[in-house]
Amino acid sequence: MADITLVEAITQALAYEMRKDKDVVILGEDVGKDGGVFRATLGLLNEFGPERVRDTPLAESMIAGLAIGMAAQGLKPVAEFQFMGFIYPAYDQIVNHAARIRNRTRGRLSCPVVFRTPYGAGIHAPEHHSESTEAIFAHIPGLRVVVPSSPARAYGLLLASIRDPDPVIFLEPSRLYRWAKQEVPDDGKALPLDVCFTLRVGTDVTLVTWGAMVKETLAAADTLAKQGISAEVIDVATIKPLDIETILASVEKTGRCVIIHEAARSCGVGADISAQIAERGLMFLQAPVQRVTGYDTIVPYARLEKLYIPNEKQILAAVTNVMEFA
């Protein structure tokens, strides 16, 4: 079996589930012949035809609104937004309807939609192509927010998201789309939607992260290992609902925690994790939790974007801080 990239794992999961379940339908801009601007839906039009792989007119609120109606009829739409910066016109439909239809009807109707979109900076694209605003969905009751960071997790979490009976915001770190390859058996096995993944076991410090920052965080853990510091690395992966127990258990063990995310700092998801640790873990914290995050500024155009994204050095500096805290 050949190794595949994260974006290929997405395609593989879509194809698997479409073969298995005729209710799965894809819609979005350029998802058909073009296979999507990142080729995530490559080949699906050929295999499943234009009824199930639907190029839409150019309107994001429409994409979300259609998906909601389709889902209420029992279809399982997978809607693609071309970049996260273009999901905002759909925010009303997602927040006011997708997240609420089940509750509004006390369970009579439901909204099993997956809203997929590439996310994050680092691919030298124009403005609005670099957003990491998972927090604006993580705050909304009724939604799930999922962020894969490896081909295998992309495959398993996307399957789970499609099968989940509720709306899922599925954020694909575009910087990782073709970063690392991995063997991903096409076995249709889903991963759980509310459990963090512990990528490295460690004893001295807990590094909590998700999305593309998993890359820098793992690199930092490697460097730390060489320095004799044993870092536990947790990929949150399911931002909402958030599996705080796994994180707390780890921090109880290590006594130290650094949270790393690419999104702007203020009111980012890192704040919520930090707050929960502070509320429930104050007793075993040996140093204040540190956040390494994007700045509270607009992601700059391509030339400066690298400076925006947190890097390994920043993570190491934060770890040094928590290790040396007295």
């Binding site: 009807t105 369970g107 109707l109 989940d164 705080i244």
Partner: protein, 359 residues
């Protein structure tokens, strides 16, 4: 200069302001039983409406939007729908909903601030009221997409107000319905007002029907005080949608014979005299006069109907007022198919809070 495209917007009316029928009764409303049924429903609606406003005034109901003056729109639409069509209403509709098997007590429950008013019957595929103005046409288009993918010969009827026709979502829905040839009928119930903003301030378009032109679909105006025309045009539009996947936009013209809702006071902005003038076209009187002329109705029947409706509505109110409250934790119980564990603690706290509050 060449002309590359031409369009016309038709206007339909059967029963005119003086209750004179122009042409024959259309096929869909030919049956005299059907005619009487439409009338009876309109009367029920008005009696219910008056009662609902009274309930609100006495603190027994929340904000409520009256249907007064728009009875023909909602009753006519409801009669045109087939059982297995899917209906996507906006908040002002009572007349279609009751023809969809929704209990009047559920409608009161909804306006009384209880989500269970949206439960309808278990098998209903209809959407509940959607409060965000203009958001529902896209849901309708999505439902129609599903019906079409499955090759079912069913149609969707989605409604909104004239104000809603200014929302981007409204145009996006018309546009995709045209592009995808969806089995859907869009109805704009043009009651001439969006709260305090008159129709003329919403858009420079001479009609709302012509907004269909932007989407390359058919648009027509219908007299919304004429329940026969409404029922017929909606019937034909639904047939077209079901059989040919041709979406249609119907602008149904009436007048809001009330405040926007019980929270509104139209005297602040409604020019004097208009309402009275528009009342002359009002749908119930118009139909009654026609039925009486056709010897299908008389004073005695009217009295009996009024009495019957009042009794029905009293029953409905009783049912509403006697509905046991929802449990506090119902707040969590339909949030997800299965509530994620991390929210269980909050759910428990909520139950405790309720106990403390009443303990």
């Amino acid at each position: 200069m060449n002309v590359v495209a031409k369009f016309e917007i038709p206007y339909y009316q059967c029963l005119d302001e003086s209750s004179i029928l122009h042409g024959n009764l259309p096929d869909s409303v030919k049956d005299t039983k059907q005619l009487v049924k439409l009338y009876r429903l309109m009367v029920l609606l008005r009696i219910f409406d008056t009662k609902a406003i009274a309930l609100q005034r006495t603190g027994k109901l929340g904000t409520y939007p009256s249907t007064r003056g728009q009875e023909a729109v909602f009753v006519g639409m409801g009669a045109a729908l087939a059982n297995d069509d899917v209906f996507v209403p906006y908040y002002r509709d009572v007349g279609t909903l009751i023809q969809r098997g929704v209990k009047l007590s559920d409608i009161l429950l909804y306006w009384g601030g209880d989500e269970r008013g949206n439960c309808y019957h278990k098998d209903s595929e209809d959407f509940p009221y959607s409060v965000p103005v203009g958001s529902q046409p896209l849901h309708g288009a999505g439902i129609a997409t599903a019906l079409k993918i499955r090759g079912e010969k069913r149609a969707v009827l989605v409604t909104c107000g004239d104000g809603a026709s200014s929302q981007g979502d409204f145009y996006e829905a018309l546009n995709v319905a045209g592009a995808w040839k969806l089995p859907i009928v869009f109805v704009v119930s043009n009651n001439q007002w969006a709260i305090s903003v008159p129709r003329s301030a919403q858009s420079a378009s001479q009609t709302i029907a012509q907004k269909a032109v932007a989407a390359g679909i058919e648009g027509e105006q219908v007299d919304g005080n004429d329940v026969i025309a409404v029922c017929d045009r909606v019937t034909l539009a639904l047939k077209k949608a079901r059989e040919k996947n041709e979406p249609v936009l119907l602008e149904i013209l009436s007048y809001r014979q009330s405040d926007h809702t019980t929270a509104d006071d139209a005297s602040r902005y409604e020019p004097q005299g208009i309402r009275e003038k528009e009342w002359l076209k009002e749908p119930i009187g118009r139909m009654r006069k026609y039925l009486e002329a056709a010897k299908l109705w008389d004073e005695e029947k009217e009295k009996a109907l009024q009495a019957e409706c009042s009794v029905d509505v009293e029953g409905v109110v009783k049912e509403y007022l006697n509905t046991p409250p929802q449990s506090p934790e119902s707040m969590f119980d339909s949030l997800y198919a299965k509530l994620p564990d991390i929210y269980l603690e909050q759910r428990e706290q909520l139950i405790q809070k309720e106990i403390v509050a009443h303990g």
